[in-house]
């Protein structure tokens, strides 16, 4: 009896250690390492951006966010992503409720309502909604195999489910996030839809809706878009950020001014540069060399995620990874383009580099999903 109990306990322990060893062996280390490099760069850059300013506390705060993020990453990796298949629609509904909740409950911060305050922490549901939408799309493309995607009647309900949050975020109004959501949905659709025509038509309709939405945009959003089209028109107003950001990036020249030497950022020529403009700090201090290196790291991460998508054991996993790759890609491109004056200033963060809890956790969770798919690519 005692022996039997002992042997069971032993076998359980051996099974446990076996699982742990297997977990470590199958764990996607290149993915984790790339992410860690980006997180390190992000912390380094944040330190420089806030050092010797009243905002230096943000550095420690961000370390906490990152630790929490890594925790989420490990947990999400451990959870089998396939369990999310069941929860996909539930997740979308939860995201919808959160977005509507923000609209109804929270006080307006900075002119538009994007934050939900829960026990002292402010949460941005629109960030979490990105994950929910990616998972929702993955279920859509998994359930309806390529041949079935023809009937409009079948396509309509899931499309509505996915389109609604995009619309709600746009009304919120958070121009940057809603554009990003639309771009992610479009990217995944173009990759996975059998028949491209519904996606093309949807995109066409969306473009046609832009002029209608123009009047709905808040004044400052219109200013930003106009300032992008003609930055010199109002150099003190909306064009100021773009102009100063370009000065910062350009003044980095080939090798940069060196760590902690970015004058544009240290002397506050870019307000709140740690959220929307961290790339300008990086480019100013590390120059063209550092900027290109950072872009290449992002490029590697995106291609690696696509690679995971190709090796996934099912269409659900493939769609999740492609969705994450699209999210990373569009975040990086829109944020950098905005910093170097190729896009209007919209609140889009740079993954792992920007300061902020919601954004950081979202990317850790998202890549955790990719890691989970990667872990189970071949019988786990």
């Amino acid at each position: 009896m005692r022996l039997a109990e002992k042997s069971i306990a032993l076998s359980r322990a051996s099974i446990g250690s076996n699982r742990w060893r297997r977990f470590l062996a199958r764990f996607d280390w290149p993915l984790f390492a790339t992410m860690a490099v980006l997180a390190a760069i992000g912390l380094l850059n944040l330190y420089s951006a806030t050092a010797r300013t009243p905002h230096y506390g943000k550095f420690q705060q961000q370390i906490l966010w990152m630790l929490a993020g890594v925790g989420c990453y490990v947990i999400v990796t451990a959870i089998d992503y396939r369990t999310l298949h069941r929860m996909a629609w539930f997740g979308l509904v939860a995201a919808l409720i959160a977005i509507v909740g923000v609209r109804l409950l929270s006080d307006p911060i900075k002119g538009s309502q994007r934050w939900l305050e829960i026990g002292g922490l402010t949460l941005q549901p629109s960030e979490i909604a990105k994950i929910a939408i990616i998972v929702g799309m993955a279920r859509l493309f998994h359930d309806r195999s390529m041949g079935e995607m023809k009937s409009w009647a079948e396509l309509a309900p899931p499309l509505v489910m996915i389109g609604l949050p995009v619309l709600l975020v746009a009304i919120q109004p958070d121009l940057g996030t809603s554009i990003l959501l639309a771009l992610i949905v479009a990217s995944v659709s173009f990759l996975l839809a059998v028949n491209l025509w519904p996606a093309v038509i949807a995109a066409g309709v969306a473009v046609c809706l832009v002029p209608l939405f123009w009047d709905k945009l808040l004044g400052y959003q219109q200013d930003r878009v106009l300032a992008f089209l003609d930055p010199s028109a109002d150099p003190t107003g909306a064009g100021w950020h773009t102009q100063q950001s370009i000065f910062a990036v350009g003044s980095g020249r080939l090798t940069g001014k060196g760590f902690l030497e970015a004058t544009q950022n240290h002397f506050n020529f870019l307000p709140e540069h740690w959220t929307d403009f961290p790339f300008s700090v990086w480019a100013e201090e590390w120059g063209f060399v550092g900027s290109v290196a950072l872009i290449l790291v992002f490029g590697f991460l995106i291609l690696w995620t696509v690679n995971v998508a190709l090796q996934a054991r099912d269409r659900f996993g493939t769609a999740i990874c492609l969705g994450m790759a699209a999210m990373l890609f569009w975040h990086v491109v829109v944020n950098i383009a905005m910093v170097i004056g190729l896009a209007p200033v919209v609140g889009v963060t740079l993954p792992f580099i920007s300061y902020g809890g919601s954004s950081t956790i979202t990317f850790f969770v998202g890549l955790g999903l990719v890691s989970s798919v990667s872990l189970r690519r071949s019988g786990y």
Binding site: T236, T263, H266, F269, A283, A312, I336, G341, L342, R377
Partner: protein, 643 residues
């Protein structure tokens, strides 16, 4: 309830792979665009942006230099500096809403508000990161208002305490001293090359304008590191971003010492006060140094320097007496009888007449079919009496002998028809008509000669020209260039430049000729019946001179209506030109009362007051006392005996 999927069950459809190839192309393409843009910003235009980012954090603050003073010959400052508060705005740190709030806080009137906005717009366009003056010389109240709103307005608005131009004697010698104001944005382009800052005023008129390069010092610069809010950052590690020295001390301007004697200037200004529009000038006959130069009505340079409102400016411009015009040299007038020195001098010099020749005057003089009128019926008189009583017919007869061209030659020799070379307020040349001139103007007639001889033709002179010509007659024929600036002195006391009298030439009239003129002009003032005997004779000193009453030719009705007090555009200009003492001359004086009437009655008394003032108050010549009353003398004698 997991999805049933097995390892290796991946959806490796060829369609997905085909699209993924496109995906890689798109990702690579977009990243290449980003990198290309970075190349453009950081490599191609990197140096340019580096410089822009550097200028962002390096602030230049200009330290005002103290402008040189303008002093009279005795060292009394007529243009000085006083402390004042100015409002400066750094355009980058103040948006339009902030500017509107500033206007509200200061309770600016629309005029001032418009000026502030205009200057802010110019500054924003030129140097958005540099503080520019938007409102000068604000009072303590407004300074306090800005200080109170400091938190609300931020670092974009500041009040600076800087020297400001001050003219302690107000309107006295205003045309001569001039005034200053802010340069326009167009002028700034050029001025900045010469070390000016947009907040600096420049001389606009008079000495302030012409001697600007001497008076204007060189502003200093303080360079420091600043953040986006315009706050000074104390970070020595960033000091290498500063190009050039961190501190350049301002260099004060040089003082300009005038030949003007302020006391005489004030005496002269007081003397012409009775006239509503007049000019007066006094010169040392032996040096050509100007002692006083008056033009009325005048303006207040303290108002003109930064406090001129549009309404005031319009009022000045509308005034028919033209306060902005310097009547001593910017405007020429018919000289009237003061011009008879030309024809008399020519006739004597050429031997066409002698001082003893007697000619008859019966009030009317017929030339061809035209009849010319003299002011009176002077009978048969010689040249001295003709000068004394200003007989027109005598000189008309002489002019027919001399001829128009010879008169013009002598007139030019006296300095008429060309600027005297004072170098101030765009001096006009006047006009010396000759035959060719009249031919061109519509055909020469003998009447032109007659009119020109008595200063009623197309001849025109400035007060200053007449002054220098009469000084030359007084001093025996030496024609000087008028001199206004004696020397330029640096702030250290070192004399930068000193100017000696310049004799232009000797007038080609013999001593005997000039003597006749001088004797005639002594009689004008001192012999009973002389045109200035009543008005110009002084108990104190012998004055010699000539009156002139220049008829004004027909004016348009609209102009005739624009009268002001004594001043009426149809009345004659009243002249007196002379010197004193009559036979040992020291100073020459010319007085013109615009549309004042008869020269002897109006201008001669003014000239006498100026001359008497000069000899009593400056030369301290004792005034001859009336004998005291007899009873007072007796009382005094009694008192003296008692103790």
């Amino acid at each position: 309830m997991l999805i049933r999927s097995a390892p290796g069950d991946a959806p490796r459809s060829p369609e997905l792979h085909r699209r993924l190839r496109w995906l890689v192309v798109v990702v690579a393409g977009v990243f290449l665009i980003l990198i290309g843009r970075l190349w453009q910003l950081q490599i191609i235009r990197g140096d340019e942006y580096y410089e822009l980012a550097r200028s962002n954090v390096v602030a230049e603050r200009f330290l005002p230099s103290v402008r040189g003073k303008i002093l009279d010959r005795n060292g009394t400052p007529v243009a000085d500096n006083r402390p004042a508060f100015h409002i400066y705005v750094t355009p980058r740190l103040l948006d339009d809403a902030g500017a509107a709030r500033l206007i509200e806080i200061l309770r600016l009137d629309p005029d001032e508000a418009a000026r502030l906005k205009e200057r802010l717009a110019v500054a924003r366009q030129r140097h958005p990161g540099r503080a520019a003056m938007v409102l000068e010389d604000v009072g303590r109240d407004r300074r306090g208002l800005v200080a109170q709103a400091r938190l609300e307005l931020g670092n974009g608005v500041e009040v600076r305490d800087e020297p400001y131009r001050d003219y302690p004697f107000g309107t006295v010698a205003a045309h001569l001293i001039g005034y200053m104001n802010q340069p326009s944005s167009k002028e700034l382009v050029d001025l900045e090359q010469h070390g000016y800052d947009s907040s600096e005023f420049i001389g606009r008129y008079g000495i302030e304008k012409e001697w600007e390069p001497f008076l204007h010092g060189r502003r200093g610069i303080e360079r420091f590191i600043t953040n986006a809010k315009g706050e000074k950052v104390d970070d020595p590690s960033k000091d290498d971003l500063i190009q050039g020295p961190k501190f350049e001390a301002p260099v004060p301007g040089n003082d300009v010492v005038l030949t003007i004697d302020l006391r005489l200037q004030q005496i002269a200004e007081k003397a012409v006060k009775s006239a509503s529009a007049a000019a007066a000038a006094v010169v040392e006959v032996d040096t050509g140094r100007i002692l006083a130069l008056v033009s009325t009505p005048s303006f207040d340079p303290n108002v003109m320097t930064g406090h001129l409102t549009r309404a005031e400016d319009d009022r000045m411009k509308d005034d028919p007496r033209m306060p902005y015009v310097d009547k001593t040299l910017q405007q020429h007038y018919s000289p009237g009888s003061t011009y008879k020195i030309v024809v008399a001098g020519a006739a004597l010099q050429d031997g066409l007449a002698s001082q003893h020749e007697k000619l008859g005057c019966q009030r009317e003089y017929k030339v061809g079919r035209r009849v010319f009128h003299c002011l009176g019926s002077h009978g048969v008189i010689d040249m001295l009496e003709a000068i004394q009583r200003s007989c027109n017919i005598y000189f008309w007869k002489l002019s027919e002998r001399v001829g128009i061209d010879r008169m013009a030659e002598v007139a030019r020799d006296f300095g008429f028809g060309a600027p005297t070379g004072l170098g101030l307020n765009s001096e006009v040349p006047g006009r010396v008509p000759d035959k060719a001139y009249y031919d061109k103007a519509g055909g020469f007639q003998i009447g032109n000669t007659l009119n020109t001889a008595t200063g009623q033709g197309d001849d025109a002179v400035t007060v200053l020209q007449l002054l220098m010509a009469y000084a030359a007659i007084a001093n025996g024929g030496r024609l000087y260039a008028p001199q206004l600036v004696q020397k330029v002195v640096a702030a250290s006391g070192e004399v930068v430049a000193e100017y000696q009298p310049v004799q232009r030439r000797r007038i080609k009239l013999s001593a005997a000729t000039l003597d006749v003129l001088r004797q005639g002009m002594w009689r004008v003032v001192n012999a009973p019946g002389g045109t200035a005997y009543e008005g110009g004779r002084s108990r104190l000193i012998d004055i010699a001179g000539k009156t002139g009453t220049a008829q004004v030719r027909s004016v348009r009705q609209s102009e005739a209506d624009r009268s002001s007090g004594d001043w009426h555009p149809t009345r004659a200009h009243a002249w007196f030109a002379g010197w004193a003492p009559a036979f040992e001359p020291e100073i020459a004086v010319v007085v013109l009362v615009e549309h004042g009437g008869h020269g002897g009655a109006v201008s001669a008394p003014i000239a006498r007051q100026i001359i008497e003032g000069y000899f009593t108050e400056i030369k301290h010549m004792p005034m001859p006392l009336e004998p005291p009353p007899a009873d007072l003398l007796q009382k005094l004698k009694k008192k003296a005996k008692k103790p």
